[in-house]
């Protein structure tokens, strides 16, 4: 079979994705990444694509509570597992403490790295409610930011940790 014909009949599979607490039935090609499915099929465009090769962290989401780069994960491989994106972390009571702290501490500039950065920070705080500064730095070491120089991001994460503990 010629390549063109082979591509003409594009195999898809139907999978169930659990995103931000909602179940979605989606038809995906085996080669589609979780990032592509989130952005293009579920229209959850808060998750960003900065490199497509797992180097920048802009596409970070939570998979069963762990921060992962969604550009490196095939959607079919995470059927049924729990996925949280930036759209899913504000509760009914308003913003997540990390979101509020990022606003208050000037940790947001262009904002392109922000969703991924916040999710990496969330994974960190969920695991370590009292992180040291070094642990905060390590927690976001996979998330590049060119605008802020990280200083205010680290301050914001530490402030959010404090705010969460005070709750």
């Amino acid at each position: 079979m010629k390549m063109a014909e082979r591509l003409g009949a594009r195999a898809t599979s139907r999978i169930e994705l659990l995103v931000n607490g909602e179940r979605h039935q989606v038809e995906v090609e085996p080669r589609e990444t979780l990032l592509e499915v989130l952005r293009e099929r579920l229209l959850l465009t808060g998750t960003k694509d900065g490199c497509g090769t797992g180097d920048c962290g802009a596409c970070t989401v939570l998979l069963d509570g762990k921060a992962v780069t969604s550009c490196l994960i095939l959607a079919v491989s995470v059927a049924g597992r729990e996925i949280v994106t930036i759209e899913g972390i504000s509760g009914d009571g308003g913003l997540h403490p990390l979101q509020q702290a990022f606003i208050d501490h000037g940790a947001v500039q262009c904002g392109f790295c922000t969703p991924g950065m916040i999710l990496s920070a969330k994974a960190l705080l969920d695991e370590k409610p009292r992180p040291s500064e070094l642990e905060v730095r390590q927690g976001i070491a996979g998330n590049l930011c060119r605008c802020t120089g990280y200083t205010k991001i680290i301050e914001a994460i530490q402030a959010a940790a404090k705010a969460q503990r005070a709750r």
Binding site: L43, I103, C110
Partner: protein, 741 residues
């Protein structure tokens, strides 16, 4: 100096767009989808220099879902340009064809099915190599350049500039010492996290084109495309969106024409989002420069004369930022001469990157200042103190230095870093460097509208790349006496707003802030005029505080701005202000940085422990934003100093390829690389900026590399004159020093 009577301006308030950004609601170009939209993909040549023998699109066109294919011949230019080659490829990664298909995966597959036959040609990827006789010539039919003496320059020199002030030869004769050094910088990417992206739509009935894109300048982009497509301004609408970083890299035409032509061909909207590799290979970069400095000084450290020669890599289609004036630094040098050579190579186009040309020029200038101080046995702060320009001195191209906070910035940097008290510790060192920047002003315009409920909106065509919308909101709120949250700032497109120049040159809060303030003042004047009639008071006795208009003389006399705005609708109509300007006086800024480093003698690794960054900002409308600019710039400067570099390798045939077009192999500083950064805001308000501001975003990226190089010398006694200062370079320099002992 803070002004106590201001309510909104001068406060560290959160950015107006922060809420949308932390929730993922901000709309970047990749987030936009239009009905019937197609997806484009580029076909690119891997080699630096090649003749296109044949392009076979047939297999791609047969793939189901492919709607159009184009080659360079379909672009209106019909000749080789940075966007697409027609006959000859001149940089690795240059597009030669493109496809549009129903979805991005089909487009990618189709691009792979395009067969291109190349004849690979000898290439030159280094500007110094390109100057040598017999080097491959990038533009064989180009016009030959002559220098200021009228002598013919090598064929790869595609631009030349010369600057002279005083008499350099006489200056050298009067000097006690002459220093001659050569400094080499590297090619780097701007490093914005959002790659370039575009969506074009062409209306077949009217011919009108709409382009949604991530740009720092809707209008400059439109201007360039109008020329290319021979369109009237009304036939091309450019819509800017949230921008995921630009740093100068989103100032010029990149792949927009590809999208537009595909949209014209298909009648459907076409989206093209570049991959990181495409972005790093085929847009613009800060090009390599080689800077020779010959400087004459008196025994007491006074600079007498300097001759500079800057060889800048312009890439195949770009232009090097040759800072022939700024290379003389923030200093009084009575005799200055410099020449700049723009050299074409088979590499990515050189373009703007945060303070274009200045980090290169000041790496040279400020490294040599320490070499001079070392030889004279002078303190590095003292020699700068001695030569720093004063108000009224000649600086930066015949500009008379206005009142400034430069000296204070120098003293603060020294003071806050503990310069004078520093103790000698093994393998530790401190270095200081200055970063002057004259700052752009440029064409600006804005509207301020008072809404019927007493809230206000600001509308302009200036894309917010650095928090400027927040400054506009603060300026407007302050001027109208309302809360910042009652001001909305909107980016209009090229159809809905008057022309403004791009968001670059650290100009926006200074120049755009000026028109916003003037427009808000017009509204305020109308408000007070109407209120004066209503209250039976003189307008000059009225003030607006938190939305209430009241008399300063008779406290009982007051009314709500809300009421007045409502009444105004029936008494002359809505209250609006509009202001425009073409330029303002330049207000040069200065960032002074002290780097503290520790060098590992075993590996040559340099750890930057602290950067103290003092900057004359005129006046900080939003100190939190200003600090954010300073911190981010300093870390970018550190990446430039120690880590980042485009690495080229000779390819399988005669060509050269870029080895590291990814964030894995081209490393930006991470949170683990970040030093402690102390930002010291120095305020000496200008006479011309709103509330006394001057440009902020670019100066703090300028001095970092030199400050680090100077600190390394202080730590381990080796002088590195080539960027980036890798472990290998440090180790080799230490070994050489030991051997020469």
């Amino acid at each position: 100096m803070r002004r106590q009577n201001l309510r909104v301006v001068g406060k560290p308030l959160p950015r107006v767009d922060a809420g949308d950004k932390v929730t993922g609601k901000s709309v970047f170009v990749a987030d936009v989808s239009l009905p019937g939209m197609l997806h484009a993909k580029l076909v690119r040549c891997p080699d630096s220099h090649a003749r296109i023998v044949r392009i076979d699109l047939s297999r791609a066109e047969k793939l189901p879902g492919v709607k159009a294919t184009i080659t360079g011949k379909d672009l209106p230019t019909r000749r080789d340009c940075s966007t697409m080659a027609v006959e000859v490829v001149r940089y690795a990664g240059q597009p030669v064809a493109a496809v549009a298909a129903d979805d991005p995966r089909i487009a990618e597959e189709a691009a792979r099915l395009v067969r291109v036959e190349y004849e690979v040609l000898p290439a030159v990827v280094d500007p110094m190599e390109a100057l040598k006789p017999g080097a491959p010539v990038v533009w064989p039919d180009g016009k030959r350049q002559k220098d200021h003496r009228g002598e013919l320059l090598p064929p790869n020199v595609t631009g030349y500039s010369h600057f002279v002030h005083g008499d350099v030869e006489r200056g050298f004769k009067e000097s006690d010492f002459i220093f001659e050094d050569t400094f080499v910088t590297q090619t780097v990417h701007q490093g914005y996290l959002e790659t370039h992206g575009y969506i074009a739509e062409a209306d077949r009935a009217t011919g009108k084109i709409t382009l949604w894109t991530s740009t720092q300048s809707q209008f400059n982009l439109r201007g360039a495309l109008l020329g290319m497509f021979r369109l009237a301004a009304s036939r091309l609408r450019v819509v800017g969106l949230s921008i995921g970083g630009g740093f100068g890299g989103k100032s010029e035409v990149t792949m927009e024409p590809v999208c537009i032509v595909l949209a014209q061909k298909t009648g459907r909207p076409v989206k093209l989002i570049l991959t990181r590799e495409e972005d790093m290979t085929a847009c613009t970069a800060r090009g390599k420069q080689v800077i020779e400095l010959k400087t004459g000084v008196k025994k007491d450290g006074r600079l007498v004369a300097r001759r500079a020669r800057i060889v800048g890599d312009g890439g195949a289609y770009g232009y090097a930022s040759l800072m022939t004036v700024l290379v003389h630094g923030p200093y009084r040098i009575p005799n200055q001469e410099s020449e700049g050579l723009n050299v074409a190579t088979h590499t990515v186009a050189a373009g703007a990157h945060r303070a274009p040309g200045a980090p290169q020029a000041l790496f040279a200038c400020e490294s040599q200042m320490d070499i001079i101080a070392g030889k004279l046995g002078m303190d590095a702060v003292e020699i700068r103190r001695k030569n720093l320009v004063n108000e009224g001195d000649f600086v930066a191209g015949a500009l008379k230095m206005p009142r400034n906070g430069w000296r204070k910035a120098l003293e603060e940097a020294a003071d806050k870093s503990g310069w004078a008290q520093r103790k000698r510790r093994r393998n530790r060192g401190m270095g200081i460097a200055c970063g002057p920047w004259d700052g752009a002003t440029n064409i600006s315009s804005a509207y301020v509208i008072l809404d019927s409920d007493g809230t206000a909106s600001v509308i302009s065509g200036a894309v917010d790349v650095s928090g400027t919308d927040t400054s506009f909101a603060q300026i407007t709120a302050e001027t109208l006496g309302i809360r910042m949250e009652d001001v909305t700032v909107s980016l209009g497109d090229t159809d809905s707003t008057p022309y403004v120049d791009g968001s670059w040159g650290s100009r926006v809060t200074y120049a755009m802030g000026t028109v916003v303030k003037r427009a808000a003042e017009q509204v305020r004047k109308q408000v007070l005029g109407l209120a004066a009639k209503q209250l039976g008071e003189k307008a000059e006795d009225l003030e607006i505080v938190e939305g209430t208009i009241k008399s300063r003389k008779r406290p009982g006399k007051k009314m709500q701005l809300r009421e007045l705005a409502q009444q105004a609708l029936w008494e002359g109509g809505p209250l609006t202000g509009q202001a425009s300007l073409s330029s303002l006086p330049s207000q040069p800024a200065l960032a002074v940085q002290v780097a503290e480093v520790e060098v590992d003698r075993e590996t040559g690794a340099v750890a930057v422990l602290k950067l103290t960054n003092a900057q004359d900002v005129g006046y900080a409308i939003n100190p939190m934003s200003v600090e954010g600019q300073m911190e981010g710039a300093a870390l970018t400067g550190m990446g430039y100093g120690l880590m980042e570099e485009y690495v080229y390798e000779e390819g399988p045939a005669a060509g050269w390829r870029l080895l590291n077009p990814s964030f894995l192999d081209y490393r930006l500083p991470t949170s683990l690389d970040m030093p402690e950064i102390e930002s010291v805001i120095v305020e000496e308000p200008t006479d011309t900026g709103p509330f006394g501001v001057k440009g902020v975003g670019e100066p703090p990226v300028i001095p970092t590399a030199a400050a680090i190089a100077n600190a390394i010398e202080d730590a381990v006694g080796v002088r590195i004159k080539e960027l980036p200062i890798t472990r290998e370079r440090v180790l080799r320099a230490m070994q050489d020093a030991e051997r020469d002992g």
